[in-house]
Symmetry: D2
Subunit: 257 residues, 4 copies
């Protein structure tokens, strides 16, 4: 044991034995879903099947959003230079930052601050939300997790809230998020609906996830999408092509609805 000896509480590895947060990995395999295992490795507790289902839905909601987001463009740009798959994934992950994917953590911090103020104040939730938004407006800070450049009624948001409701996992943070949405509409005189990042933020708060790893849920969800873009770039496109950030068209399968 050297002076640099240190401790970790995630995974224990011995010859022929691997324990993830105390569970033998081979007993987890076939029994829990990848989504449940992600929750376990991040939070240290086994989620119920209901929580697992909600986590699955959160990841599915953000798995891809086409070729337009900067993460897909960064991954494709690097892939088109002949780089290895992992380099192109890394470049995409580097683009998941403040203005792209970063909304989850910031929205979580907003909802938590509101919740703390509700606990310590005598004012109503609506009053507190109005006051906090008013202060943000004065500081010219936008509320993260509201509004979307493309979607006015994001189908993912609606579905996430519906699922959380059905699974009994919609809690006080969802109701705070809805109060913020309402107050923003009053303040701005126009609708700025909760977007998918805001919805995920509210649900992760209700699940007790720390905001510091909020963005990880977006990163984990999107890596498979990035891989799909990289693979398409490498197998379908010419190397070093000029990648237009908007002028592309979907020509894949369309299914009857």
């Amino acid at each position: 044991m050297s002076e640099l000896h240190w401790k970790t509480s995630i995974t224990e590895v011995h010859p022929n034995k691997i324990y993830i947060r105390g569970y033998p990995v081979d007993e987890l395999m076939g029994k829990v879903s990848f989504a449940q295992a992600i929750y376990l490795v991040l939070k240290g507790e086994m989620p119920s099947p209901e929580v697992g289902k909600l986590i699955d839905a959160i990841f599915v909601s953000s798995i891809d959003h086409g070729a337009g987001p900067p993460s897909a463009l960064a991954s494709r740009t690097v892939a088109s230079t002949g780089a290895e798959l992992n380099s192109a994934v890394a470049a995409g992950v580097l683009a998941i930052s403040k203005y792209h994917g970063g909304a989850i953590e910031e929205a979580m911090r907003l909802f938590i601050r509101i919740d703390e103020r509700i606990d310590e104040s005598e004012a109503s939730k609506e009053e507190i939300v109005r006051e906090i938004l008013e202060n943000m407006r004065k500081l010219k800070k936008r509320a993260s997790g509201f509004g979307h450049r493309i979607h006015t009624k994001d189908p993912r948001t609606k579905k996430l809230f519906k699922l959380a409701e059905e699974l009994g996992l919609s809690g006080r943070y969802v109701s705070i998020a809805l109060a913020v949405e309402k107050a923003l509409e009053e303040q701005l005189g126009k609708s700025l609906p909760i977007n998918v990042d805001g919805a995920i933020a509210a649900l992760l708060c209700d699940l007790g996830i720390s905001p510091e790893i909020g963005n990880a849920f977006f990163i984990i969800a999107r890596v498979p999408g990035l891989v799909a873009h990289i693979h398409e770039e490498k197998t379908r496109m010419k190397p070093m092509r000029k990648i237009h950030p908007e002028d592309f068209e979907y020509d894949g399968v369309r299914r009857k609805e």
Copy 2:
């Protein structure tokens, strides 16, 4: 439409509508697992529930392997400098390369080459495997996906093959992998068992996944583990500490077995 107009077949995005490989994302949410959605976005086809279960098990098997692998150490090293979560994840992904995680793609290529030779030759599978391994030995090339520095009977390999069998998904590539394991033992005079990368390689071949994205399955599986290490490094350790690559100890939960 500019001269740079291009086409993509992964995801179609319209205001308030998002289709992943032709499926409305909000219909996928709550119905398919994250693992199934990953298979869908990468392969373009909806997997059966059985395939989904096997993919879930593959991802769970590789979600983490403690603090020792270079990807965990690279992520922790970057995290300890105060970097953002996504930077630390990117550094870990960059370490998933030729000698770490990279075995999946190489093992897939070996199994596919063997399978092609079986189709075009009159010799038996055993003879072909022996011949190919003999040639590799002369070229001083090792067979990827066999042997492990820590595990002699990797619990993950056994469980993956058992699950594939139960789900009816164990095919000719698994039998090729087993033939290689047997031939290696004869050639080397000692056991060099299939490791988890080799097992995943065989199963992905049987599922019809292209080898170019074989390593993606390791990257996707491991990103959540990297996030757990980064989060622990940032919340439990001092910034800029010297991170010993071996002298650490598990002090997390132990569960009765």
Copy 3:
């Protein structure tokens, strides 16, 4: 010209003509040093030969600091997995963050704040420095650019200030940095000397460089050092070795002094 048309003022490229900040690149070659060209491309102005010499010294001062810093360890860890050179460089760059290399930008911001306060206040430089440090102490914020884990009299700091003096480039920010050093010693009752980051910060302020690119001077300086570590790792060490962060020894050339 599309709707996305945009403008850039760095480099103009035409067939057989390349202008860097308005200068034909082939006229710069052989006439200006790399260090001068770096200043030109970053600041948009041609530096005098004196400024060029100081920039050269700044870059030389930070070109390498052995195998211990996290950037060298991150680069080596990734290189040891068989990754490409550029991936290993990228991992090292990702480790040049808040607590490693990041001190330059923060120290620049501190010196600029002090300078602004001197301009708008009637108090002496010494009083203002004391007041600002006192406020930082209350907020438990450390002054970046002072103190070093290994060096008590960093030879690089002394030489940088001496060269700046000789070249006539030592200005009011260097004197502010010295005032901070003095005030820190009074405040803490022990010496916390300007380190190389603090010295570079003061000199870059005197050269009129913006703090937003302060850390770039460290990144640019250190990339060659990272390449040397990556090359040594790939050619001298075994792949996938466990890289001890402290227990290494120099066995290269020693020159008579």
Copy 4:
């Protein structure tokens, strides 16, 4: 001394003493240029002033090539998401790969192979070059370092060769590169002139640099250019803008020639 004890021959660090390849860093500062120090740290030997001048010119030649190359676009894409400077630099470095910047290493390997064949054969240089190119043509392999998408007479190539000539540093690899250029014109019936990567490759071979770090010269040269693009993106452009890869215009300083 632990079992993991290891050795390095790059930099020796003691309290208040830093030796780069055996030279005290503070004695190098003010005496050698950054370019000379880069050569020293990479090669382990102090270059002559002439070699230093040529290395300076090599780095200046490749410091930037406008906003069009994938490295600049990757860096800008990541910067536009609000990422830190070092993340955006890392993304640009990841794009310096096989088809972008990667030509240097490949061209060096070609020139070295030709040179080895000249040594061991009785045929003339011209015959050997013709034979090797003919074999490459049959294998559908292009010669790296020849031809450019934009420049037919790259001003950088001409200047590099002229400087090397004047400095007495043009050797047998430059003459091999010229022989390849001539043979390519005969083989293809049209001119495919040496590009800047090919010229740098020939000069690095004549300087005795190993091909494994050939691309490092491009990475080191271009990082300052990437920083300039990132800084412009962050200070002049709106976050999350759609970055057109071609439709941009230079609006910076123009100087009288």
